[in-house]
Amino acid sequence: MSALPLLQVRDLKVHFPVRGGGLFPTTIPLKAVDGVSFDLAPGETLGIVGESGCGKSTLGRAVLQLLPATAGAVAWFGEDLTKLDKHALKARRRDMQIVFQDPLASLDPRMTAGDIIAEPLRNYHPEFSSADRKARVAKMMEQVGLHPAMINRYPHEFSGGQCQRIGIARAMILGPKLVVCDEPVSALDVSIRAQVVNLLMDLQRATGVAMLFISHDLAVVRHISHRVMVLYLGRVMELADRDSLYRAPRHPYTQSLMSAVPIPDPAKERARTRALLTGDLPSPLYPPSGCVFRTRCPKATEICSDVVPPRESAGPQHEVACHHWRD
């Protein structure tokens, strides 16, 4: 990426204090996100994949400063967001929005679709007349494929896909430069999923918005992302160009994730061998020493428990954090 990065995340950590039990409880940090770094160029989509509980959503919220970062920096055009005060942050937030996983829960049940979409306008442009605001809302609704006549309906009167379109309209109405999509299609029907993903891609083409696309659905991520980042226990395992990652995953974790995706061809599906993972995700309260993936890694050796693998370049636009990626 040659352009100036929109967003530079450096060694971001988000730890939640968890009180232990016992007579003298001590607080233990739950390392939801533990040292994540990446860049995001304007108009680019970075897919973030990983198992449940690996810190994907936490990372998305920490980038938007909806959760306080414990350490590290989130630079927005070179300006560290973690050090801004409330007013400065509010001004920056105009350019960064979020789309949530649960379409219905992310909409206020007592507001009409029109009011929900207009809310960012109220916050940032109180000077707009109500007619002006309405016109913009109607235009936005058309852009996301909602009929403007549905302006007075309440969220429960819409289908899941329509609710997500409202959520997207709310995120897009200010013309942001970055939208964090926190599993925006996971709660939707498969038939609706493609529509919403394509809508996001159309909007990106039209407005040049950059996206952090969080999902556990590798197929969707492949469709929408330019680059993909694989997280495990709050750490980056692999960060690569989409094609390079899907063609030749280097990290054993990525490889096993890929082999879990079913191939829509029964003959091929039956023929291949799967590198399936055993066991569960270790507790982020007590992450394994060295490489966090070693407890479930088929390639793990002694060095993995002692040394945290550094992020190495495994080709152009391809970084991997594994001691054994060459094997």
Binding site: Q97, P120, H156
Partner: protein
């Protein structure tokens, strides 16, 4: 092709209809739905009639509430010629005039004290619940502290310090009733605070005040309104209790609670003095309950 013209027509129709759809707010919607609720509308009308009669009625009657008809010092049955439309009480005072005057006191105490409770309770509850942390601890411990103060003791102290004053009754009752309201609103706010739409509101640049006003309050409203309709009767009864102790209104002034109290004493010889104020009071309380139910339904968009 027979299908084409039909399809074309629908498109044209939709296009023609689209620009006429005006934006509506929750309040406009709620008002429209409330009007469709017959019980609520009837209650609203009856309440208005009772309130109007209580505040204007006494001026139109031939007797005032404290005037004794010395010729009929016994409890007189209804007598239109003398102007005692519902008779007199055992002291020869006009029962209708007294009931209407009592309604004035009871309704103003009931409504004003409830609104005092509503204003303080909702603000404290919403702030404590939404901001949380130390603010929450501080405010709720203060509420606990006030809960521990006995009402009568509190009222007596107020009377001693400020002297007897009608306004004090509002203040005293309001100061007690807001505590429960604050707890209810705080509990509701705590469950709302973690909802995604609150996070969405923050992400779209809403300040704490804006989020509380725009999202928290409309969502706790349903519960609050039900509680308000329960509080108004409670306050009316509380006022009669205070009056009975000699801390509220004093004879010859009166309230529904006092009238019912007096009437109950002569139930066997003169049931009219109980029945008349009791009918007014029950009608009012019923209407408040129906109206509250109607409001709650009207304010819940899922119910339409």
């Amino acid at each position: 092709m027979t299908l084409t013209p039909i399809l074309a027509q629908t498109d044209a129709l939709e296009a023609a209809l689209a620009p006429t759809v005006a934006g509506r707010s929750l309040w406009q919607d709620a008002w429209r739905r409330l009007r469709a609720n017959r019980a609520a509308v009837a209650s609203l009308i009856i309440l208005c009639v009772i309130a109007f009669a209580s505040f204007i009625g006494p001026y139109l009657l031939p007797w005032t509430y404290d005037q004794i008809d010395w010729d009929h010092i016994e409890a007189l049955p209804p007598d239109f010629a003398l102007g005692h439309y519902l008779g007199t009480d055992s002291l020869g005072r006009d029962l209708l005039a007294r009931t209407l005057y009592g309604g004035r006191v009871s309704l103003s105490v009931g409504i004003l004290a409830t609104f005092v409770a509503l204003a303080i309770g909702v603000s404290v509850g919403a702030i404590a619940g939404f901001i949380g942390g130390k603010t929450d601890q501080l405010l709720m411990r203060f509420v606990d502290l006030l809960y521990a103060v006995p009402l009568t003791f509190f009222v007596i102290i107020l009377m001693v310090v400020f002297g007897r004053n009608f306004v004090l009754i509002f203040l005293a009752i309001g100061a007690v009733e807001w505590l429960t309201m604050a707890r209810i609103v705080r509990g509701q706010t705590l469950t709302l605070r973690r909802k995604e739409f609150i996070e969405a509101a923050r992400a779209s640049g809403g300040s704490t005040t804006a989020i509380i006003l725009r999202h928290i309050l409309p969502n706790v409203l349903g519960v609050v309104i039900v509680y308000v309709t329960l509080t108004i009767p409670q306050v009316i009864l509380l006022e009669s209790f205070l009056s009975f102790l000699g801390l509220g209104v004093q004879d010859p002034r009166t309230s529904w609670g006092m009238l019912i109290n007096d009437g109950a004493a002569e139930l066997e010889i003169n049931p009219r003095t109980l029945i008349v104020p009791a009918i007014f009071m029950t009608a009012t309380l019923f209407c408040f309950n129906f109206l509250g139910d109607g409001l709650r339904d009207a304010l819940d968009p899922k119910d339409r």
